[in-house]
């Protein structure tokens, strides 16, 4: 059963009592919250996700509003995982971004059966492209544009999850996080895309989340082999450049972008070795022209 198929009353009841059990990407979550924006946001962004009717849950999460005087004066929300609060509370209006950032944190800090890389991952024709990137590189905008284009599906906009045993990329399709100008860029690129309300004045500026496609959610269990690594860099007014990167350089970049490479030790080194052995790596500079970028990516996987 999909999350969108339960009634609003039922959704509210679950969130305020035993918890709403559903799949956020590849991981099962039991979510409790008294914040209306969470109920609305989850209903919109995770509407195509399946409810979890198993006993086991990966992450038990609460998004709670502050009590006492803070309920009225500069109200706050907090994120907790299994009743542990890892972050400082945030403004009440940041509840939905806090949920998304918290879910990312859960994976990067707990899922060490995988190598987790700060990267977007998309796939078309059975060929995946990993886009590692620092904030501002344009990887999320490029990722969002691609998954709004025919044939592409989203594996993740933020975390490339590489299975240490199977050498496969594990899909974790969740709402795509977009910031500042990128929000309107993607809304104009695909007016039919569904977005959460834009939240301003976050630590990352203005933030909104785009609902992932049905195709991406339906294929959440379809792993794929890594095919290409592309390091995007958005530079206004730049000429398009697409340059192959030596394997050694790409190795060091991927290690740098990995959340848990150091923790994994030998396994981390061996995983990146396997990944790089099977992929060519490129640096891609583009001026923000999404149609040009999409044509380039289409040519790589055709």
């Amino acid at each position: 059963m999909k999350l969108s198929e339960i009634t609003s009353d039922d959704l509210s009841a679950k969130l305020s009592s035993s918890g709403l059990k559903f799949f956020a990407g590849n991981f099962s979550v039991n979510l409790r919250s008294d914040v209306p924006a969470i109920r609305k946001g989850v209903h919109l962004l995770y509407g195509d996700s399946l409810l979890n009717d198993n006993e086991f849950t990966d992450f038990h999460i609460n998004i709670d509003s502050s009590q006492g005087i803070r309920r009225w004066i500069r109200p706050r929300v907090s994120f907790s995982l299994s009743n542990n609060i890892p972050f400082y509370p945030m403004p009440y209006s940041h509840a939905l971004p806090l949920l998304e950032w918290g879910l990312n944190w859960c994976v990067t800090n707990h899922c060490h059966q995988y190598l987790v890389i700060h990267a977007a991952v998309v796939e078309k024709n059975g060929k995946s492209i990993i886009f590692p990137g620092t904030p501002g590189s344009g990887k999320s905008t490029l990722c969002a544009a691609l998954v709004n284009s025919p044939g592409w599906r989203l594996l993740s906009d933020e975390l490339a999850i590489f299975d240490l045993d199977t050498n496969q990329l594990i899909p974790n399709p969740r709402p795509v996080s977009l910031k500042n100008q990128s929000i309107n860029v993607i809304k104009e690129f695909n007016p039919d895309s569904q977005f959460s309300p834009t939240i301003n004045d976050t630590i990352k500026g203005s933030v909104a989340h785009m609902k992932p496609s049905k195709l991406s959610i339906e294929r959440v269990k379809d792993t794929c082999s890594p095919f290409l690594v592309v390091y995007p860099k958005y530079q206004a007014s730049a000429n398009e450049e697409f340059i192959q990167l030596p394997q050694g350089e790409s190795f060091m970049e991927l290690a740098e972008h990995s959340f848990n490479y150091q923790i994994l030790g030998d396994d981390g080194f061996k995983s990146i070795s396997k990944l790089i052995s099977h992929c060519r790596s490129f640096k891609y500079i583009y001026d923000g022209n999404l149609n040009v970028a999409i044509n380039r990516m289409n040519s790589l996987v055709s």
Partner: protein, 91 residues
């Protein structure tokens, strides 16, 4: 002065076309060796128990690359490998 390869069990290697990525399992550090360093390290790897002196290394490189490399340059490269804890001096 001569050098030898440090305990090879300490390292994992990823061989690229002309470069090498080396992981030090004890120090948990990852190093990227360009082609010059890779050539020299591969010479050491070819004789894991042996020691190498600069003069002998110059001869091997001359045979391999058809180039005469100045001792000063070799010393710098050896020092880089030593700083990366891949080789050590032998008194």
């Amino acid at each position: 002065m001569s050098w030898r390869l440090k305990n090879t069990n300490t390292f994992l290697y990823f061989e690229c076309e002309q470069e090498l990525v080396v992981y030090n399992r004890l120090a948990r550090t990852t190093s990227y060796l360009d082609s010059s360093l890779t050539i020299i390290l591969n010479i050491f790897k070819g004789m894991p128990q042996g020691t190498l002196e600069i003069d002998y290394l110059i001869e091997i490189l001359k045979a391999k690359l058809d180039l005469s490399i100045q001792p000063k340059v070799i010393t710098e490269l050896l020092t880089s490998l030593e700083n990366l804890e891949l080789i050590e001096t032998v008194e």
